[in-house]
């Protein structure tokens, strides 16, 4: 029941926000309240969840179209619970940011954000392929509109590219969903049916590769991350991208064990290519958003390496890293948004020197940046280390690429930190640009505190992401 509540509550809240003719601030405040209550619901779910139990929990299953084997089936596993946790927290921060930034057409905007949240939770919890497909698609519609209406100057181009890429992925996935259902006689993911059809697997894999995105399916990424409102970019990179990881694990590995194993070499190579390629482009991107966008691509490559390492180290690392990267990438995007609002640009050349006289901004940017570059001791380091160790099982070369990724991450992230904070003030940085205000700190600090907590105790996620019985099922 609780799962259904987690899905339906934000959607219901979206309807309320859309319908009630309230003033702007009240509408946005209501949306934030709903997002915070969603966090509360998630905490309730955690308290009721038994992490040692590998079966589906807190779920609901109702037959829907019995003749076709379609059901409404939702529920949590350990790893999906953590992914949803990162999502609800990031959404609360993003909606808070939108409130603070005062987005135009407030009712529509917040209704769409809440709808998106509901769709994300549904994607992470769906246990029926058609339901999963519907939720996966439902995420896209609010995203198209959020980018297309509230985006920057080139929002049209960004949206069209985004639509075409994701639709292409979705179509392939729809074909695969149907083919899976027809060949296996059920759409249920809990029935334990597996398929060894490579083509059906590929349909899913490409859809997830676009969503993540993996190299070379990332054509939509630079424009979308640059043109979207900054909190939408945060949600895209922090949360929406992780549905691909969820899909790779829940559907790719669990329903297609053989094809996933057969094609793991190809996917690992693409993931590694994306890790290096994204890092190199991040290193020379001319604007902060570009750096974070490409670094996000690099990180998704890294996490995918963890998934296809096919061992407990890699999988646990992938989930830990998904959670940590979600939190840190959302923090970075929101911080870039705060810098953009002060300076009107995120061009690296035009910024700088903001450390002087702005202690809060300095501290927050440093903490977020240093966690982003996976300084040893941080949650991101713990995740990367597990992935690096797990990947060794598939070949030492993958571990070396992950290690290279750590060095490259240091290079491009230090560039971001220095671009904002160091040396003499850039031409876009005016004296009047203030330090972060309490309202802004209240948006970013919770994310950073969670990250610091996770750095003190990363085992809380890594040891509970998969119950032993689940792993035994997934791993060859």
């Amino acid at each position: 029941m609780l799962t259904t509540a987690l899905i339906l509550f934000p959607i219901a809240a979206a309807l309320v926000v859309a319908i009630l003719p309230l003033p702007r601030e009240t509408t946005a405040g209501l949306a934030l309240l709903a997002a915070l209550m969603e966090v509360g619901l998630w905490i309730t779910a955690v308290t009721q969840f038994d992490f040692d139990d590998g079966s589906l929990q807190l779920g609901t299953t109702r037959e829907w179209v019995e003749s076709l084997g379609i059901s409404y089936s939702v529920g949590f596993y350990g790893f999906s619970l953590w992914l949803v946790g990162a999502s609800v927290v990031v959404f609360a921060a993003a909606i808070g940011y939108a409130l603070w930034a005062g987005r135009e057409r407030t009712r529509a905007y917040h209704a769409l954000m809440l709808l998106l949240l509901g769709a994300v939770v549904a994607t992470f919890t769906a246990q029926d392929l058609l339901l999963f497909y519907a939720a996966f698609e439902l995420m896209l519609i609010p995203l198209y509109v959020l980018v297309g209406v509230w985006g920057g100057e080139r929002r049209q181009a960004a949206t069209v590219t985004f639509v075409i890429y994701t639709m292409a992925g979705s179509l392939l996935m729809l074909a695969s969903v149907v083919a899976f259902g027809v060949t296996q006689g059920t759409f249920s993911l809990t029935a334990g049916e597996t398929s060894d059809n490579v083509w059906i697997f590929l349909g899913f894999a490409i859809a997830f590769a676009v969503k993540a995105p993996l190299f070379p399916f990332h054509g939509w990424l630079p424009l979308a991350y640059r043109e979207a409102p900054v909190e939408v970019a945060a949600v895209l990179s922090a949360v929406v991208s992780k549905t691909a990881i969820y899909g790779f694990i829940r559907i790719g590995l669990e329903s297609f064990p053989e094809p996933a194993d057969d094609l793991s070499g190809l996917i690992l190579v693409l993931a590694c290519a994306g890790l290096v390629y994204g890092s190199l482009l991040a290193f020379r991107a001319p604007d902060l958003r570009g750096v974070i966008a490409y670094s996000s691509m690099a990180q998704m490559g890294l996490i995918t390496v963890g998934v296809f390492a096919f061992d407990d180290l890699g999988l646990d690392g992938a989930i830990l890293q998904s959670v940590a990267h979600g939190l840190v990438s959302a923090s970075m995007f929101l911080l870039v948004g705060m810098v953009e609002r002060r300076c009107g640009t995120s061009d690296v050349d035009a910024l700088g020197g903001m450390a002087r006289g702005r202690p809060s901004l300095t501290t927050v940017v440093l903490i977020a940046g240093l966690i982003a570059l996976a300084v040893p001791g941080s949650a991101t380091f713990a995740g990367e280390f597990l992935i690096m160790a797990g990947a060794y099982d598939q070949g030492w070369g993958y571990s070396v690429v992950v290690a290279l990724g750590i060095v490259l991450a240091a290079m491009y992230t230090l560039r971001v930190i220095s671009a904002i904070l160091h040396v003499e003030p850039g031409r876009a940085v005016r004296k009047e640009a203030l330090d972060l205000r309490p309202g802004e700190l209240a948006l970013v600090l919770p994310l950073l505190l969670l990250l610091l907590g996770l750095s003190v105790w990363p085992a809380v996620v890594s040891q509970s992401a998969f119950a032993a019985s689940t792993l035994a099922e997934i791993l060859p």
């Binding site: 181009a157 949206t159 074909a175 027809v182 390629y277 290690a403």
Partner: protein
């Protein structure tokens, strides 16, 4: 009690850093300085309790592991937050927190009046915590955590004056070069996880004999990579001279006394692994020998007072690498300790001079400071004598021990190292006294007369007391290991790491005679050159090559940075923009156009979606037909 002391030692500086950060502007700058100093001395107290407790324990039981909780876990693999207290780590704890406490105290005077004093002290406390984590860690992953965090603190403190572009560049360079070391270290750990299933020191050392030669060599190479980067040994040394952009107490603490010697600690701590990979261990000694010579020569042509001392640091760490590489572990740690005393002392007296001259670091503008700053002069002289290995001063005992061990090691490698170490002794005498004479002797230069701040004296008491304490330590600190007479220090370390080479008393004293003679020759040559107004290195070509640090920076720039940057730009121009980003421009434009013609009221967006849905139906039909 013993182990509680160790935990207090670890956590007190962390508490200090957190307190200063949280308090922000609510506390005065002075209070922040007091919090930082006090917590570091609390850590020293904890270390002392742990040390004495260990001292009182029976010989066989001086190895205590204490676990707090499981930090990281996945399947059967788990890493705990645990500390290992043994004779080696307790010694390191005393050095780190003791010298650290003195330097933080000194900072109080040195940094007084800086805009961002609170941030400085928060970073210093963070550093002390990280360094203690590094030496107290009970497993290799926790060591890597401390390893990375000291690098982080070093980055923050080198770039402390963040408005200076050189400082920021130096900080980034230090971080990235250390990240390379972190990465090789992490890879070595990955290998160990798969080969031994654990990362605890004791577990790994038990299994090390069962590993294949290739595996052990690779693991040892990975560890060595980390050690070389952190300790600024050739070929990953170029970041250290640039790191002198940071405040002088930072150079004293991080880039002389503690962090840069972490590589030596790792070589000693992981000695069972290196002994199983003798080629790699020899490589460590060879790299150390090369570094001690090259850095010693480059130090002869530097004009910046701090850079001379920085190159000297590289050179002295080279000695420690030689010691650890041939298995004279006790002497490696012994030299680490005496070096911490006299090198911190040299940096701190240099800091007093720089302070006195209003921030000037160029020794060409200095001179004749002896009369103006008698106490500083005396302290510097003590440091110089210890560094040059003049008898009874601390450096004499530790350095000669290393040189004698190389002789005792014998063979082609041992004798080569012995020769290099002796040449190094000569170089040390040369660059040390070149610096000493240029700065302190002769007539006061015009610059000095103009800038010397009379009312300033030689600095506040918070600076002079630590300098005084370190002067005493640099003088008598070596008396804990007198060959053949009284060697408690070495016996203490030997309990944890048994040396594989030990010089006889004859070898010891014969070596000392040669080494001291060479040191004195260095002193005399430096003096003659100074009296004659000459430099020690003549010939503009040689000078230029040395001044450019043998063009290693330029080589790295050409070999790694530029290609990476060029590759990145090329990828953006030739792949990302034309192929990936613009791939859909035409399709997108076309779709919009078609859409616009069909129904102007709707947006192109919805139409694209509709078209896509239509496609999907087609695909579905195809699928159904194909599957049936």
């Amino acid at each position: 009690m013993t182990i509680t002391g160790a935990w207090v030692c670890l956590l007190a500086p962390l508490a200090g850093a957190i307190a200063i950060t949280l308090a922000g502007t609510r506390i005065s700058r002075r209070t922040a300085a007091y919090i930082s100093t006090l917590t570091t001395f609390v850590a020293f107290g904890g270390a002392l309790v742990a040390f004495l407790g260990l001292w009182a324990t029976d010989h066989g039981d001086r190895e205590i592991v204490s676990t707090a909780y499981t930090w990281l876990e996945s399947g059967d693999f788990r890493v705990e937050l645990q500390i290992l207290l043994d004779t080696l780590s307790s010694t390191m704890m005393l050095i780190v927190s003791g010298v650290g406490g003195l330097i933080v105290w000194y900072s109080m005077g040195y940094m007084a009046g800086d805009d961002e004093e609170r941030r400085y002290f928060a970073y210093m406390s963070l550093f002390v915590f990280s360094m203690l984590m590094l030496v107290q860690a009970g497993n290799l992953l926790l060591l890597l955590v401390g390893w990375g965090l000291v690098g982080l603190a070093s980055y923050l403190l080198i770039g402390f004056w963040h408005h200076k572009p050189e400082a920021v560049a130096a900080a980034k360079k230090a971080f990235v070069m250390n990240a390379i070391g972190d990465a090789t270290l992490a890879l070595a750990l990955v290998l160990l996880i798969w080969e031994t299933g654990t990362l605890t020191y004791l577990g790994v050392f038990e299994d090390v004999d069962g590993l294949s030669t290739t595996t052990v060599n690779l693991v040892a190479l990975g560890l060595l990579g980390g050690a070389v980067a952190k300790s600024a040994q050739i070929p990953l040394h170029t970041w250290l001279p640039d790191a002198m952009e940071g405040p002088t107490p930072v150079s004293a603490l991080i880039h002389a006394a503690t962090m840069v010697t972490a590589g030596v600690y790792l070589l000693v701590r992981a000695s069972p692994i290196f002994e199983a990979a003798p080629d790699v261990q020899a490589l460590a000694a060879i790299l150390g020998a090369i570094t001690l010579l090259v850095a010693g020569v480059i130090a002869l042509v530097q004009w910046d007072i701090k850079r001379v001392i920085a190159y000297s640091t590289m050179s002295q760490i080279g000695y420690m690498f030689v010691a650890a590489g041939i298995g004279a572990y006790g002497y490696a740690i012994f030299h680490l300790m005496t070096h911490a005393f006299f090198k911190a002392l040299l940096f701190m007296t240099a800091g007093v001079v720089i302070h006195h001259l209003g921030g000037e670091q160029d020794i060409r503008k200095m001179g004749g400071l002896r009369g103006l700053m008698p106490r500083t002069h005396l302290a510097f002289l003590v440091g110089a004598l210890a560094l040059a290995g003049i008898p009874i001063f601390s450096g004499f005992w530790s350095k000669d021990g290393i040189v004698a061990a190389a002789l005792a090691d014998g063979g082609a490698l041992g004798y080569s190292l012995y020769a290099a170490a002796l040449v190094g002794a000569l170089l040390t005498g040369l660059y040390t006294f070149r610096l000493y004479f240029t700065v302190f002797r002769g007539e006061p230069s015009d610059f000095v007369k103009e800038h010397a701040q009379e009312d300033h004296g030689e600095g506040p008491r918070s600076m002079l007391i630590p300098v005084g304490v370190l002067s005493v330590l640099a003088t008598i600190g070596g008396l804990v290991a007198i060959p053949g007479v009284w060697e408690p220090f070495l016996h203490w370390i030997d309990e944890t790491v048994e040396p594989t080479v030990k010089a006889t008393v004859t070898q010891d004293y014969a070596t000392s005679a040669v080494a001291v003679t060479l040191g004195l020759v260095g002193f005399l040559l430096a003096r003659r050159a100074f009296d004659a107004g000459r430099q020690l290195v003549t010939g503009p070509a040689v000078w230029r090559v040395l001044e450019h640090k043998l063009y290693v920076d330029e080589a790295y720039d050409a070999l790694f940075f530029r290609p990476a940057a060029a590759l990145s730009t090329a990828l953006r121009r030739n792949v990302e923009e034309p192929l990936v980003e613009r791939s859909l421009d035409e399709i997108g434009a076309g779709t919009l156009q078609v859409g616009g013609e069909v129904a102007r009221a709707q947006t192109g967006l919805l139409r694209t979606y509709a078209i896509a849905l239509a496609f999907s139906v087609v695909v579905l039909v195809v699928v159904f037909v194909a599957v049936r």
